[in-house]
């Protein structure tokens, strides 16, 4: 029988807290989640990597600033530079920005308050490996929970790299341009502040996050077939 379960690594940093949720959601959507400890210098055979939410290394100095130098992140950087699919959620997005794999940086919320609630999002780009199951302009309801999610938008960032925005009037953190998620110029690295892994079952309030994670699983499966 042909192997159909793509292997998606979930990097576990000291202070990660959504790693199990991400692994559960990926498993529910047909992938084989593989937990990878931050001290690992090499990644196992993987079709995609997820950097989960949490407070890696206590978020000391700046969110993601210390995690970016962990041995696993060196391996993830090589993986991304070779075209591998990398998704960063919340703290994972902050780490990708600090590591320079994504443009911009995430700063303390404009309100200075921790925000934990569902937000409405608009899909700007439905042609990425992470959003292919969505329609362009589709509205998604996915929760956020962060204190530092105010995206500083580099002025030179091309419009087409903004994949996800907060719906008009629903920006929870003061992000410039209402940016909720950005993709790199090559299109294989994506980071977003909302937590799709917390919205994969209508019983939990919304199933919209599954559209993003299932897009990743689809794309990872294509990579799996390519290497098989």
């Amino acid at each position: 029988m042909r192997e159909t379960q793509p292997r998606i690594g979930v990097i576990v940093f000291p202070g990660s807290q959504d790693d199990r949720d991400a692994a559960w959601a990926l498993g529910a959507l047909g992938a084989e989640p593989v937990m990878v400890w931050h001290a690992e210098e090499e990644l196992p055979m993987l079709d995609a990597v997820v950097l989960p939410g949490g407070f890696s290394y206590g978020d000391y100095l700046r969110c993601g600033a210390i995690a970016r130098f962990s041995p696993a992140m060196r391996a993830v950087t090589e993986f991304a530079e070779a075209g591998g699919l990398v998704l960063g959620i919340c703290n994972g997005f902050q780490i990708l920005c600090e590591a320079g794999l994504l443009p911009g940086v995430l700063r303390p919320n404009r309100s200075l308050q921790f925000v934990c609630r569902d937000v409405a999002l608009v899909v700007e780009r439905a042609d990425t490996p992470f959003t292919a199951r969505c329609g362009a302009g589709q509205e998604l309801l996915i929760p956020v929970k962060h204190g530092e999610g105010c995206y500083h938008l580099p002025p030179e960032l091309p419009e087409e790299q903004i994949a996800l925005r907060y719906a008009p009037g629903d920006n929870p953190n003061g992000s410039e341009g209402d940016v909720a998620g950005v993709v790199n110029s090559a299109g294989n690295v994506f980071g977003l502040m909302p937590h799709p892994e917390h919205a994969v079952d209508p019983l939990l309030g919304s199933g919209d996050g599954a559209l993003i994670l299932a897009s990743l699983v689809d794309s990872a499966r294509e990579r799996l077939y390519a290497r098989a």
């Binding site: 600033a65 940086v105 700063r107 303390p108 919320n109 404009r110 200075l112 105010c150 500083h152 003061g174």
Partner: protein, 81 residues
Amino acid sequence: MRAVVLVRPKTGILDPQGQAVETSLKHLGFAVDEARVGKVIDLELNAEDEAAARTEIERMCEQLLANPLIESYEIELAEAE
């Protein structure tokens, strides 16, 4: 050698902490026009001379201590007592 690194939000970068401090100071009756909040990092290091120390600390700032997209830094050097 001892060094102090001052890390500040760059001009034009929104600083909600600074705004909160400014508002509080105004509530207390102080006449302030603006407050910005940064970080102080005290370092103790071995270096041959001031120039070498400065070069080394600049590398630390570029790689880790500051995010050049949003923060500027200043280095002050002092001989250890």
